[in-house]
């Protein structure tokens, strides 16, 4: 039986994409951002958009998603926070050693060419750097809030300062310019400036707090969930109740989607699929 021509095209295109998405690359250089955060650069033109991610493995057990901290015609970068076995192994790697990557995957940020606010929390900030570069190319007026627990945890300050943006640091310890959270500073800015679009990436409680103070402005958040396949079939990263597969329809979600997600700011799922509540609360209450 003959396949319909459209399906032949779909399958051919799938083979092409599949081949192009598998990369075995040497680490070109490693930049230390702070005590437990490194940025890894790879000399490869990825053709990725801000917000997208790659899956990375060293074949020693574990394959994890990392948002792109930057991507140009010459190279791309991922920023890694040391949290467990897998990332600890990455921290032992040296320039020249190989990693297996696949991607880019997922949705990307909408580029709004007007006045925009970017709110980054902790180690969520790196993809906002890539976004900032693209926004500036589009002629946007960019205001960046970069928040962290302490000055030691604050990353990418110099990189943002090297760009033509209105840039603000804020830490909860108050050791630098300002004391408070990224959301505190965002609220202040929103009270005095009218933004056309808001972007944010960071811990989910921060995103939730930000969502609660945004009034009419459209926004996009970069979200995180446990991912395994990254190609939309295993279901590990689906978000309730819409069934959004964060690896395909995300990781960048828009206001309309986020407002309908009952699990946002409430719970996520672990490697078994069991729900883990952000407030450590128990029970099954949607």
């Amino acid at each position: 039986m003959q396949k319909s021509p459209s399906l032949k095209i779909i399958l051919t295109e799938w083979y092409r994409i599949m081949k192009s998405k598998r990369l075995i690359l040497p680490i070109n250089r490693i930049v230390r951002e702070c005590r437990d955060v490194n940025t890894y650069f790879f000399s490869h033109q990825l053709e990725a958009k801000p917000g997208q991610f790659v899956m990375v493995t060293d074949y020693e057990g574990g394959e994890k998603p990392f948002s792109l901290a930057d991507s140009t015609t010459a190279e791309f970068a991922i920023t890694v926070k040391r949290v467990g076995q897998f990332t600890s192994r990455l921290f032992q790697k040296k320039a020249g050693e190989y990693l297996a990557l696949r991607g880019p995957y997922g949705s990307s940020f909408f580029i709004c060419p007007h006045r925009v606010l970017l709110v980054g929390g902790g180690y969520g900030t790196p993809p906002l750097y890539f976004l900032t570069r693209k926004l500036l190319e589009a002629g946007s007026e960019v205001i960046v809030v970069n928040g962290a627990r302490s000055g030691d945890d604050l990353i990418f300050c110099e990189k943002f300062r090297a760009l033509e943006v209105n840039y603000h640091n804020i830490t909860q310890s108050g050791c630098l310019d300002r004391k408070g959270t990224a959301v505190d500073l965002a609220r202040e800015l929103m009270n005095t400036i009218k933004f056309d679009f808001i972007y944010a990436a960071g811990p989910e409680p921060m995103l939730k707090a930000l969502q609660e103070i945004v009034k009419d402005t459209e926004y996009q958040f970069l979200m995180e969930r446990y991912m395994k396949c990254a190609i939309g079939i295993c279901g590990s990263c689906t978000m309730d109740p819409l069934g959004i597969r964060l690896c395909v329809e995300g990781p960048v979600l828009s206001r309309l989607q986020i407002e309908q997600l009952s699990e946002f700011g409430h719970y996520h799922r672990d490697a078994t699929g069991a729900r883990i509540y952000f407030n450590n609360g128990q029970g099954f209450h949607d």
Partner: protein, 316 residues
């Protein structure tokens, strides 16, 4: 929903013959619900085990020409937590749901069945054939007619809903196994589980691409093997068969139905054609049926009957 595609499976009406098979987008109620909203006539839960499992370490999937290798390793939150997702699915969605369970002994299958009896599941599927846990559990139960028979019999003695046995293609002769399941009282069969297992090698780093080394193969390349096994089994057994393996489009689904399947699983195609694949295949089946003037799925000829008639005609 298209009237052409309505059918009846073991007394339950389904709006489409397409089934979301176990292991695809079914870690949560909302994943199953999105498949149902996109046109799946029936959905299957993740295979639940007694206790939670994190599954294998990554990489757990690898794409290859014609398919995908996976070694998820039966990650699931355990039967109790899993059935809560099924309950929540039922609150959100009327689509019939199959609860899949995995165990390695009759006793554990019985315990799992007791849990499923107290859930809104419409069907119980016994995963006798996961190819990704050989290291842990040995050769799948579906390789032995004797074991399939004793487990199906044990489960049937207490199950309060129809029981489906999911069989493996990774056996030299599937027919004694299919017969054993039928004789032991299985209400339906689901075939096939993933093929292999297979492996892929990263030639630059000289490592297996999957951390588990081996993984079950799914995707378009699977279809010819699935069709052959479904055809062979459907010639032998009288219970209905859910045919799954490599279906990408309406024409593939029609092939499955002609091979003898009553319902058709669509899994890996979700990756290749997106979540809209269910509605797309429904549409493609309906277009074919209209072209050939089939008024319902039962009018699509079964290959076996068609060949038998040809032989009869020749004799006359």
């Amino acid at each position: 929903m298209n009237q052409l595609l309505r059918t009846d499976f073991l007394g339950i009406e389904v709006k489409s013959p397409l089934v979301l098979p176990a292991g695809i987008m079914d870690m949560s109620y909302s994943g199953m619900a999105i498949a149902a909203r996109n046109g799946a006539g029936m959905v299957t839960s993740k295979s639940f085990t007694l206790e939670a499992r994190t599954g294998h370490k990554g990489p757990v999937v690898a794409e290859c020409e014609g398919g995908i290798l996976n070694c998820m390793g039966l990650c699931n939150p355990g039967i109790k937590e899993g059935l809560r997702e099924v309950e929540q699915f039922r609150k959100n969605c009327e689509t019939p749901v199959i609860v899949s369970v995995f165990a390695t002994s009759s006793q554990d299958f019985i315990t799992l069945t007791e849990h499923v009896n107290n859930s809104p599941a419409d069907f119980l599927e016994l995963n006798l054939s996961c190819p990704n846990v050989y290291d842990e559990f040995g050769i799948p139960l579906a390789a032995s007619p004797g074991q399939v028979s004793s487990i199906v019999r044990a489960v049937k003695s207490i199950a309060q809903m129809p029981v489906i046995a999911k069989l493996s293609p990774n056996t030299p002769d599937i027919l004694p196994i299919a017969r054993a399941a039928e004789d032991a009282g299985a209400d339906a069969l689901c075939l096939i589980n993933t093929l292999g297992p297979g492996m892929l090698i990263d030639i630059r780093m000289v490592r297996p691409v999957l951390y588990n080394k081996f993984g079950g193969l799914s995707g378009p390349c699977l279809k010819p093997v699935a069709l052959r096994l479904i055809y062979q089994v459907c010639c032998e057994v009288r219970i209905p068969v859910i045919g799954t393996g490599g279906v990408q489009c309406g024409e593939d689904a029609i092939e499955m139905l002609m091979a003898g399947a009553s319902l058709v699983g669509v899994g890996t195609a979700v990756y290749i054609r997106g979540i809209e694949v269910f509605s797309a295949i429904n549409r493609e089946i309906a277009v074919f049926m209209k072209e050939r003037n089939y008024r319902n799925l039962a009018e699509i000829p079964k290959l076996k009957d068609h060949l038998d008639r040809m032989v009869q005609d020749n004799e006359e």
